[in-house]
Amino acid sequence: MSVRSEPAGTEAHAEIKAVTRVFELPAGTSLHALGPIDLDLRRGEFFAVVGPSGCGKSTLLDVLAGLAAPTDGKVVFEGKAVAGVPDGVGVVFQEDASFSWLTVEDNVAFGLRRSGLDAAETKRRVDYAIGFMGLKEFAAAYPSQLSGGMRQRVCIARTLVLQPRLILLDEPFAALDQQTRLLMGDELLRLWRETSATVLLITHALDEAAMLSDRVGVMSARPGMFIDVVQTGWERERDSRVVSTPRFGEITARLWEKLRIETMKIMGAADRAPAAAGENS
């Protein structure tokens, strides 16, 4: 099942149309990883995707970023079909993607220098991004001298300076501790408000999805499809303090209700789901 979640009167910034992704494996077998899946990302919204492990979340991001071609269907970004990485898309990966041989400043400036932007404007943008991500004191440091959270901030700053209109985040805080994740979430919200970019966040953390997003898409077990899209209803001016509101509990409960069954399917325990649900009620 797939859910098209596009309210009337909103402009679609990126569209995923009946996309499937099938991997050909050795020995003539194949793995149906994703879809068919539909999704319309509205311009300027913060959309999170949650789903059980191996459901194709990262595959979805790769297809949307143009890093992988869909087996079927198509991806449209700003009205144009995606073939390869389109201009205006920035990606922050789960793994540390900082360049260990460059300083923080050079890491952040990497993309701008390649784009041929003049030195003065490059410096202005780099200084701003470094300051924005709280890395000013570490501008001359190498990634090996920074903590995991700071290295991830370097990667976010490196994406931010290019002023992408669509920011894709693939579990960027997965390796961080809970407190750092909450604070990084705040910084991400600040970045989102500042840039007005459309954000798609892949995460396995329900609290992260519920706290950060305007909408949360819940994916089924493989092959991944959207089984629900939850509207959070948060104000644009929000931060991590929303976790203490009753609404936050309601959202995470609804997400977990959907996700629990899908996760149990993966664990081979779907048949136990109704009994377990009865015990809990």
Partner: protein, 249 residues
Amino acid sequence: MKLESWIRLAVVAGSVGAIELLCRTGVIPNSVMIPPSDMALALASILSSGEMTGDIVSTFTNVALATLITVVLGFVLGQSIHAVPWLRASIEPLLASYYSVPTFMFYPVFIVLFGIGRAPIVAIAVLLAIVAMIMSTLNGLDRIPAVLRKTAHIYRMSRVATALLIELPAAAPYLFTGMKLVVAYAFIGVIASEFILSGSGLGYRIAYAYNNFENGKMYGLMLLVLVSVTLVNSGLNAIDNRLQARRRR
């Protein structure tokens, strides 16, 4: 200086001191080995007289040439083999067993191919060192995190730009380990080749001194090679340590 460094220094100094003592007391006869202090004096005399400056320059030029050719060729071959998985699967077992082959036995072939002079010496050194560079390149390329190549895609970088701006620096610590091996093999290859197929160079001069019972010159030149290799290796180690420190996460 760290404690380990002091211990290392003490071991070297102790060994040199012990040899000096054994030579001076006649336990080791002068016809076999001269005291290290006499080696140093002989070396000073060789350097100050300038009688072997041409040979020293020749050997170091050969080593530099062999190193340069090996590093560039080894990196390009390593990249090419890495890019073609079936080729790698076919070749890698051969590369892994390469050093079981005594490369020097091919020296007559190199004389036939290149004649007498610099070319066969450099060629033997390259042959000796090249596989170390290829293996280090493969190892380095294997260890580049996949996310860096994905990042290159996001920046819409060409294959060449990705190789030069992402893969080369990311693999640099491993490549540098290969370069260190290349320098060591280049010294071995050049000096050993000069023993057997040259009329100049440090290897030739050491062999000449040996054949003419000139122990002072022979050990002086050996000391020169030893000191040179140690200094070069120390310099490379210092750079390597900096690269490794950046890689550590």
